[in-house]
């Protein structure tokens, strides 16, 4: 009984004449139009590569004390001041114990970026997990959102200081001074910064899960886990990416503030924030020791913020194509 009836001409679909444009290509095209975002992306890639590969190219030990070559100025100082103590062996100068500034900037950047990325990723994971769970499972919603409110009510910087002064010792004795501090700072920043992400994600999930395509997926028997992974997460990606950009910046700044207050990483472990804080007393004689790490922090944060701006514009279909 199976007879194939040839469809009439008008009902035949025309094949697409252009290959389909993927969503990500649209996003990228829009993103490219945002000059600040392009600069941000470029600089962030540059700085990440620099701190990753830099220490191999410039292999001076940042902690090596070289008392004979102390207080050297960066090489560019020679342009306006012929008598300045400069040398190619220390292209960015050295500090009061003769430690190489170039090596310190590179390894300090590694620490700052590591703290920033790790704290950001952790905070996103917590925020997204809680947001999705609260939005998707109605039973969990009340409990999880009360928890979120509770964390929002905790004062961040005082709590951060509190936790650092309290738990520094037990953690450093288990994981070593740097490892312990890293775990402490990263986890505290993450634990106190996931709430906005969770709230935004929950809101979006609540709206999306009522949409037809989710209903369709459910009707063909898709398991909840798969619905979340295949249908919900890709659609809440844009708010997540935007909070990611802001989270990275906040984490770097927070770490440097802790270092300034003297409760950050141990003193023989450079980070940008710590270099800046240590050099503030010698700001007039050796401005470069403040400016170099200061500029590094600012440019990184600036580029991440621009990147976030660009992403927001690019990922928002209402703005895209305007």
């Amino acid at each position: 009984m199976t007879e194939t009836i040839a469809p009439i001409e008008a009902l035949k679909d025309k094949g697409p004449d252009k290959p389909p444009r993927s969503r990500w290509k649209d996003v990228w095209d829009q993103f490219k139009k945002h000059k600040g975002a392009m600069f941000g992306l470029g600089f962030l890639m540059f700085i990440t590569l620099a701190v990753l590969i830099g220490p191999f190219l410039w292999d001076a030990d940042p902690q090596k004390i070289d008392i004979r070559n102390k207080n050297m100025r960066p090489i560019y100082t020679a342009i306006w001041d012929g008598d300045a103590k400069v040398g190619w062996n220390k292209p960015l100068g050295s500090d009061q114990l003769g430690r190489d500034q170039m090596a310190q900037i590179l390894s300090g950047g590694r620490a700052s970026m590591a703290v920033g990325w790790a704290a950001m990723v952790l905070s996103l994971l917590i925020g997204t997990a809680i947001g999705v769970a609260a939005g998707f499972y109605k039973k969990l919603d009340g409990l999880l959102m009360r928890t979120t409110d509770l964390f929002l009510a905790l004062p961040v910087l005082p709590l951060l200081l509190l936790a650092v002064t309290l738990f520094r010792q037990p953690l450093t004795s288990t994981f070593g001074p740097e490892g312990g501090m890293f775990i402490l700072i990263v986890s505290i920043i993450a634990v106190t910064s996931w709430m906005p992400t969770a709230r935004i994600v929950r809101g979006d999930v609540l709206a999306i899960k009522e949409r037809e395509f989710v209903l369709a997926a459910r009707s063909i028997g898709t398991l909840p886990g798969k619905i979340i992974r295949r249908h919900l997460l890709p659609n809440v990606l844009s708010p997540i990416l935007v909070s990611a950009a802001l989270g990275l910046a906040t984490a770097i700044i927070t770490e440097s503030a802790l270092s300034f207050l003297g409760v950050g990483f141990p003193s023989d472990f450079p980070t940008w924030g710590k270099m800046l804080a240590d050099a503030v007393v010698r700001m007039e004689e050796y401005p470069e020791r403040v400016l170099l790490p200061g500029i590094a922090i600012s440019l990184t944060v600036l580029s991440v913020n621009y990147l976030g701006d660009g992403l927001r514009d690019a990922l928002d279909p209402r703005i895209r194509g305007r």
């Binding site: 509770l150 009510a153 005082p158 700044i253 924030g273 600012s298 600036l302």
Partner: protein, 335 residues
């Protein structure tokens, strides 16, 4: 709306109790010692006696219960006494700081004026600067002004105050000698000249703080304006022939202000506690500096009470922000 507010208010009590318990247990786990700052020349037996005199050795739950009673029962009595001249609280044990051996609340009240002067003024200044910048940047999106504004606010966002603070001191106090580098908390404003002095000593910390707050607020304002400028009602307003200023400054601004007002309200608790670094750099010795000193001295009653006050303020202003949101935006109904 009223029932909603009352329900939220009652709900916040267990929340606050829970927060206070969490903070207390955190402090109990602390390995720090209130005697650590006492010099080595004081022998350990004496330090032990001093600890006992402070009540350090008592079980944690007993200490917590005492603290609860002191904060929720005795301190309000003290406040009533101070207002109406009664003497309910006479002879009752208040929350005593380990470091200064004096009631914690007295010191907190002593610190509030300078914190309000500096951080509060910075907040107001920041609002006054941020809103126009945000409005104009959004109205002329991607114009030169917008780009410059974005750049400047980003700089403000990314430069930490412990860098801008000492920089201002070097320029304006050491080189130019215009402003004092150390804030005088005993200064009394009673005439024009003393007001001028107060302005001079406030200007640097206010500048540092306002830069940061402006950066944040103007971003919010711009985003909110952008959202609204693309809405249909704007086109309608323009189509019916309203002047451009009426469209932007009346219709769009009113709607854009809704989320911004709540952001401002949510930021108010940070006026009381957030300026730890700036206060430290300029020696303003407000609440933030107090918390830092107590933390480093392991003064548990002080730290506990202060963090709890912050938590109360945050919960309170969260509530106020939610209610404001409902009042300003008729589309939102709480039930």
């Amino acid at each position: 709306m009223l029932t909603y507010a009352i329900r939220r208010l009652f709900l916040s009590i267990p929340t606050l109790l829970f927060i206070s318990f969490v903070i207390f247990m955190l402090l109990q786990l602390a390995p720090g010692d209130p005697m650590a700052q006492v010099p080595l020349t004081v022998p350990p037996e004496v330090k032990q006696k001093m600890r006992e005199a402070l009540g350090v050795g008592e079980p944690a739950l007993v200490q917590y219960w005492k603290w609860l009673v002191q904060v929720f029962w005795i301190e309000p009595q003290v406040a009533i006494d101070a207002m109406f001249g009664t003497n309910w609280s006479e002879g009752k044990q208040r929350v005593i700081s380990w470091q200064t051996r004096s009631p914690v609340m007295d010191i907190v009240i002593q610190r509030i004026p300078q914190t309000l002067w500096v951080v509060g003024v910075a907040y107001v200044v920041a609002i006054l600067i941020a809103l126009p910048i945000g409005i104009y940047s959004a109205y002329r999106q991607y114009s030169v002004f917008d780009q410059a504004g974005t750049f400047v606010t980003m700089i403000g966002f990314s430069i930490p105050p412990f860098f801008t603070g000492p920089l201002l001191i070097v320029i304006f106090s050491v080189q130019l000698g215009w402003f004092p580098s150390i804030y005088d908390t005993t200064h009394v404003v009673n005439d024009w000249a003393s007001f001028k002095e107060q302005l001079q000593q406030m200007i640097m910390p206010v500048m540092v703080l306002a830069l940061q707050i402006t950066a944040m607020l103007s971003r919010y304002m711009r985003a909110s304006m952008l959202d609204n400028l693309g809405q249909d009602y704007v086109r309608t307003a323009r189509a019916k022939g309203l002047s451009e200023s009426a469209v932007v400054l009346v219709h769009v601004l009113r709607n854009s202000m809704i989320p911004v007002v709540t952001v401002i309200a949510l930021g108010i608790p940070s006026i009381f506690g957030g300026a730890i670094i700036t206060e430290n750099v300029f020696k303003v010795n407000g609440i933030g500096q107090l918390l830092l000193t107590w933390l480093f001295a392991n003064d548990l009653p002080g730290v506990m009470t202060l963090t709890f006050i912050f938590a109360v303020l945050i919960v309170l202003f969260n509530l106020i922000a939610d209610i404001l949101y409902g009042l300003l935006d008729p589309r939102i109904r709480y039930d």
